[in-house]
């Protein structure tokens, strides 16, 4: 077993040993040695056009499949270009392993050509990182990297390897079992806390399950559904948990938060018990924190103890894996039901149903008017039956996609939720399609986002990765335009792009993709069908949408969820229950 091989060969062997089938990256000086044994490797390397694209692709790959996404880049600019992607994966707890080349050991610290302190730069945006100074450590480090990325609260890690370490020959040994004394994630929940949670659930009159991305990460979707059905408690699915419970399920209230629907937002505000599972009370969900769910007791279960009590005090803190927590809760509740105990949420359910019927998401698509992005997205959802994988950029289109796509299963909604990184969509959809080639992958993008990373069209055309990219082209940085309209007295500053530059159809064609354009509602179905018929290359559709369309409902940043703004579609609805349609107060903080 002690045949001499190079550090680079050891790296490839270690990645293969982890079951890596795909990786995304771009070569360069310091990582060059690793690209040589790659030729013989079983790993399929997708040559991205920008390292940010490689990092987002690894993220999309991981979100779609649940496997660890892998990206690789050279030192210096290669490593810094990965940073946005890693930061997004970090905020969304996505397991990614990034491998970067570093200048040779003897140059480290000398401001050598293309030297940047990759581990230093990425400390705040990775779960952990390593600078490997000995070729004998490569295999073990890669094993640890995959272990840390994929267990506990998942997240990105970075392994930085100096060029001469990759080149050095040494007697190779397989990694030994990973043993990290400082890393022992706790997955099994405490029995006493589970009992206490069950007691609160039976006592509650207005409970709501607040399901976050942890449900998806833990593969707890079906278990969550069991809990909802067993108890009759409704579920809100946050931006990171869309699809955790199917949108067509009667217990699913949909998305809460800044652009969530009225019922999801208000159910939490009025609840007397929040059962928070795999979620972190993000400010985009809670609105103004002191005014959030003021009457609710909180059961907070998360695999990361640091999230519990960080933003909101928990009455019952539970540290554990979401699936195990829910399974334990179900048995505890079943035991109680066996003894004759029951929860009674009848009046609350009627209230929720009433809100749902009165305050759904609303938009109006005039027959002969401009395209409404909500209409386009609804059609994509209906025509694909919600059975595809849907990836978004960041902005209005992202919120509309989350609102209007009827998700049917976990891991079919992929976005940059926590970081909100424009440019995520195109490369992440590439990663998702590579991971799940049999699924139909749709990227709902904005014209602004698209232009940040559309170079990956070349990658996908060459690699024959047939994703469908629908650009909701509103000729603006729409979300920013909306804020300027609402909060800066319609003083528009640096938000207009125009429809025509670039010509998205020609741009798509130049990249070897199919380019389509759609300008009126009666063409929408046909153009979607046409895109679905293409399976040998990406399709880009330029949906020319109404630039003045705003995204509602909206809780302005820094305001209370009670001040949810329903928007103009509800202006003539005189039966509203007294909550304000328009908030009077200016927002306190910015987007």
């Amino acid at each position: 077993m002690s045949k001499e091989i190079t550090g680079a060969q050891a790296l490839m062997r270690a990645l293969e040993a982890q079951g890596v089938q795909h990786m995304f990256g771009i070569p360069g000086g310091a990582i060059l040695p690793a690209y040589d044994p790659l030729i013989e490797s079983s790993i399929h390397h997708v040559l991205a056009r920008h390292e940010q694209g490689a990092a987002h692709a690894a993220d999309g790959y991981a979100q779609a499949s649940g496997k660890v996404g892998v990206c690789m880049a050279t030192s210096g600019p290669g490593a810094t270009n990965l940073v946005t992607g890693l930061a997004s994966s970090y905020m969304d707890s996505v397991p990614v392993v990034a491998v970067t080349g570093q200048v040779p050991r003897w140059l480290i610290g000398s401001d050598g050509f293309q030297e940047t302190d990759a581990t230093g730069i990425t400390v705040p945006v990775t779960k952990h990182n390593w600078l490997v100074m000995d070729p004998g450590d490569i295999a073990q480090t890669i094993a640890e990297a995959f272990h840390i990325a994929s267990t506990g609260r998942p997240g990105p890690v970075l392994v930085d390897i100096p060029k001469d370490v990759l080149q050095a020959k040494f007697p190779y040994h397989d990694a030994s079992p990973v043993d990290l004394p400082g890393y022992q994630p706790k997955t099994k929940p405490n029995v006493r806390q589970i009992k206490e949670a069950a007691r609160l659930i039976l006592e509650a009159e207005r409970p709501v399950i607040y399901a976050g991305g942890g449900i998806i990460a833990a593969g707890a979707g079906p278990t969550l559904q069991k809990l909802a059905e067993l108890t009759g408690i409704h579920v809100v699915t946050t931006l990171m948990a869309r699809g955790a419970l199917p949108d067509d399920h009667p217990m699913c209230l949909g998305m809460p938060g800044m652009h969530g629907n009225y019922t999801a937002v208000t159910s939490m505000q009025r609840a007397d018990l929040l059962i928070a599972l795999g979620t972190r009370f993000d400010d985009r969900v809670t609105g103004k924190l002191p005014a959030f769910a003021t009457q609710a007791k909180v059961i907070h279960a998360d695999i990361d103890p640091a999230e519990i009590g960080k933003n909101r005090r928990a009455d019952v803190p539970i540290v554990g894996d979401a699936r195990l927590v829910i399974e334990e809760l179900i048995s505890a509740l079943q035991a109680e039901f066996g003894k004759g105990a029951t929860g009674d949420y009848g009046a609350w359910t009627r209230q929720l149903d009433e809100w749902r019927s009165r305050f759904p998401y609303r938009f109006t698509q005039p027959d002969d008017g401009m395209l409404k992005p909500q209409f386009v997205i609804s059609r994509i959802s209906d025509i694909t039956g919600g059975n595809g994988i849907y990836v978004a950029g960041v902005g209005q289109h992202q919120m509309w996609a989350s609102q209007f796509i009827r998700f049917q299963r976990p891991r079919t909604w992929i976005n940059s939720g926590g970081l909100g990184a424009m440019g995520f969509g195109v490369p992440a959809s590439m990663g998702a399609k590579v991971a799940m080639p049999d699924d139909e992958v749709w990227c709902i993008d904005g014209d602004g986002c698209f232009q940040m990373t559309c170079q990956e069209l070349a990658t996908m055309a060459v690699e024959k990765i047939p994703v469908k990219i629908g650009i909701m082209n509103n000729a603006h940085l729409g979300m920013v335009r909306q804020w300027q309209e609402l909060f800066y007295t319609e003083r528009y500053s640096q938000v207009e792009f125009g429809w025509d530059i670039p010509d998205y159809v020609k741009l798509a064609e130049a990249y070897g993709c199919v380019g389509l354009r759609c300008e009126s509602p009666d063409e929408v179905d046909a153009v979607i069908e046409k895109a679905r018929g293409v399976d040998d290359r990406p399709v880009v559709i330029d949906f020319r949408c109404d630039p003045r369309e705003n995204c509602y409902p909206m809780v302005a940043a820094g305001t209370s969820n009670d001040d949810i703004i329903l928007g103009p579609e509800f202006e003539t609805d005189h039966e509203t229950h007294g909550d304000t349609l328009y908030s009077q107060d200016p927002p306190e903080e910015d987007s």
Partner: protein, 170 residues
């Protein structure tokens, strides 16, 4: 509010940076920080005094635990621990005032470690209040420069932070 936290870490390159980066990006104010090796090879101990005006210390300890190289974190309560600091302080002391400085040093059990024609350097150690008192008293002579180690502390009694978990680890 100030807390004294003892952190056992794996003695690996970059660990100090990871810990201090965590404190700064989370907005936790470090008052002092002292690092050194321990009785266990490959394990270092950091003693951090952190100033938290509006957060429970638990927020900090939970975040610290997330660092892979952190093995153990313990708050050292003032009543249940021994806290010490060491200061080297150089003060003006002309021949006519020198003996006064010497006297003060004696009262504080400080060692005089360097003397020149018009300065005296004293080494004083003890609880932080004692150090502060000495500093106050010699201020009138004129402090030329001083340096402090930052606080170090250990829990009182038999209990150590090197418990079973750590033994298994090393």
């Amino acid at each position: 509010m100030k807390h004294t936290v003892s952190i056992l870490v794996e003695n690996k390159p970059g660990v100090l940076m990871r810990v201090s980066s965590l404190f700064s990006r989370r907005g936790y104010n470090i008052h002092s920080l002292a690092v050194g090796t321990t009785e266990v090879p490959d394990v270092s101990r950091m003693t951090v005094v952190v100033d938290l005006p509006d957060k429970p210390l638990e927020h900090v300890t939970k975040q610290l635990h997330k660092l892979i190289n952190v093995l153990k974190v313990i708050e050292l309560e003032p009543t249940a621990s021994v806290v010490r600091e060491l200061m080297l302080i150089k003060v003006h002391a002309e021949p006519q005032t020198r003996s006064q400085v010497f006297e003060l040093a004696e009262v504080f059990r400080a060692n005089i470690v360097d003397v020149t024609t018009d300065s005296v350097t004293a080494e004083v150690s003890g609880p932080p209040e004692k150090i502060a008192a000495f500093e106050d008293l010699v201020r009138s002579y004129g402090i030329i420069e001083l340096v402090k180690t930052g606080r170090i502390a250990l829990g009182r009694g038999e209990r150590g932070i090197k418990d079973r978990q750590l033994r298994a680890a090393v």
